[in-house]
Symmetry: C2
Subunit: 351 residues, 2 copies
């Protein structure tokens, strides 16, 4: 009775362009700031602590005429049987009629929208002339975050890469970074356009493996953190004035990547206040009494709409705590569905 378009990982990977995803996530943040988007309560269930869990995040994007959900399951032992530990599925509905319109694999979208979020944090809050980017963490999300930030910032010359567990992971990422950026993000664009040339130029940076996180922190303008860490890796004393942090890794109670003391002096922005204080990087800063909820300056969308000032001086330390909201997934899923419809891709099923 209803036509539902099904898009798998490969199809989504072949059609989603990071520049469009960044624009979509920017729109999500401004819609949220203008109360034109709603985040529904999250459902979280642990099947067995430390072994398997699942969550359902859902919401409504009025201007995009969609609502829907992303269900992510985490099964720690899956890799032993050649299955991914994280499996995400997105279901999109038409908010004019309530009928289902799309079923999508969520993992590539998650990478894209999370990378975009980190980059938007930098675009909105970092110093415009930022030259050195430090990527902490070398997992699935890192290349998305690096790509999006390079596309968004105009003056990055050096990308430093640190892995808290295994230096070899950083070496591997650095060794393949340029090739990956070109294959995954540049190759999708039409050649010889000004956009293509501009992004090609922006990807022409040097990559370096970080051995000493303290000294790398001290020379970095923008720091992106995307690890599953549960204790701070970057200490407040190491951070130079003017640094911007986009903290991606903390998305569950107890996770922490940077010293909570950084929050004591920084201007703090979040994607969603309630999520940030319960499951984000902000949680520990509040739990330790370093800050209170009132010290969060605003959700980042309020900076983008001009209602709140982001960075006030070149010496401000800024933090964007991005926990990830379903609206990012839904907007990116809608983008993929629209492109797929135009290109007649994916599988249409009759539901």
């Amino acid at each position: 009775m209803f036509n539902v378009r099904v898009l798998n990982h490969e199809t989504i990977e072949s059609i989603l362009d990071m520049q469009q995803v960044i624009e979509g996530v920017e729109k999500v943040y401004t819609l949220k700031a203008e109360s034109r988007a709603e985040v529904f309560p999250m459902v979280f269930h642990e099947f067995e602590r430390g072994v398997a869990d699942m969550d359902i995040k859902s919401g409504h994007l009025k201007d995009a005429d969609i609502f829907g959900l992303k269900l992510v399951s985490w099964y720690g032992d899956n890799p032993k049987q050649q299955l991914p530990a994280l499996i995400g599925t997105t279901l999109v509905f038409d908010s004019a009629t309530g009928k289902p319109i799309g079923l999508l694999s969520a993992d590539y979208i998650t990478g894209m929208r999370t990378g975009a979020a980190a980059a938007i944090g930098a675009k909105v809050l970092a110093r415009k002339n930022s030259k050195t980017l430090l990527m902490v963490g070398t997992g699935h999300i890192s290349i998305f975050a690096i790509a999006a930030t390079l596309m968004t910032m105009d003056h990055i010359k050096t990308v430093k890469v640190y892995d808290p567990m295994d230096k070899m992971c950083a070496e591997r990422l650095v060794g393949h970074a340029k090739e990956k950026l070109e294959q995954a993000f540049l190759a999708k664009l039409e050649q010889n356009t000004s956009m293509y040339e501009s992004i090609k130029r922006k990807f022409d940076v040097s990559f370096e493996v970080v051995e000493d996180l303290e000294s790398a922190t001290g020379v970095s303008d923008i720091i992106l953190t995307a690890t599953p860490s549960r204790k701070p890796m970057i200490m407040a004393a190491w951070v130079k004035p003017g640094t911007h942090f986009s903290c991606i890794g903390s998305d569950m109670s107890g996770k922490q990547e940077i010293d909570e003391k950084i929050f004591g002096t920084a201007r703090i922005f979040v994607d969603d206040v309630e999520q940030a204080i319960h499951v984000g990087e902000t949680e520990m800063a509040i739990n330790t009494g370093t800050i209170t909820k009132a010290d969060i300056i605003a959700e980042i969308g309020c900076v983008m709409t001009g209602d709140v000032k982001g960075r006030q001086s070149d010496t401000d330390i800024t933090v964007f705590d991005t926990t990830g909201i379903a609206l990012q997934d839904l907007m990116t899923a809608k983008l993929a569905l629209d492109i797929a419809e135009e290109k007649n891709m994916g599988t249409i099923v009759d539901l």
Copy 2:
């Protein structure tokens, strides 16, 4: 990467047999009583009060190795554009790995599992020799509830049908009831088997339109209510000793079908205590102070496991308040997926 089976309304309708659905829902109730099944918190969102809303019900059935969700959207104006007001979609996951395994249209399953629930209430709580069934309400659910109850009870001779809004609806249902029962429920069974003959015999009852609800109530042994009513239709004084009620209609705060005074003397059973007191028929009985939560004797599964006594005498009035839980949908969806796999039906998509 994952094979997901998609089953639409027509496919599900062609393969689901009520007898198997009743067994599945019975299993759900006993699993829940044994804490081998979990209901996750419901997400409810009103897009616009009285115009459109949606809810997400989810849960985990350990023994069936599945978890998942049903999203139901209600858009009151949909029928004006030839769309159903209620649209349901079910997503089923393998609970051993977290991978998605099925996407199903939910509406036929909802009819089947709701009818089964009403019948199980009668099977467990009504007098075995019940002869007269009163169906209050003539909507989508009624024929499922009648079919399941006839299949479950051995001595029904008369089915009385009442519509609170329009007698013509009752006349229409009575006029087509036998034909509908045979086409929708009997035709699926293998002919000349003892099961086929037994159900054919059970369907051979007389149907009557009810004009006077008071006198119909007074001669009925089992009363099923499935309306969107917000005020009591059946008054306590009309009810004869020994009557059993399966109340299906109340699934949202403020709904009520039977006089709350009935709860004052009845033995009360529910499918889920928390849902019953918040959105079920039980809500009003508690809100008016007629009973307290402690007066609910048990969830019905506890009667089925033998832990709690259901009916104690032939003069007890019993009530089963069934609000509907996601586990019923998931178990029935799994049944449909298993049959479809065996018969190679539905569409397999690569997600």
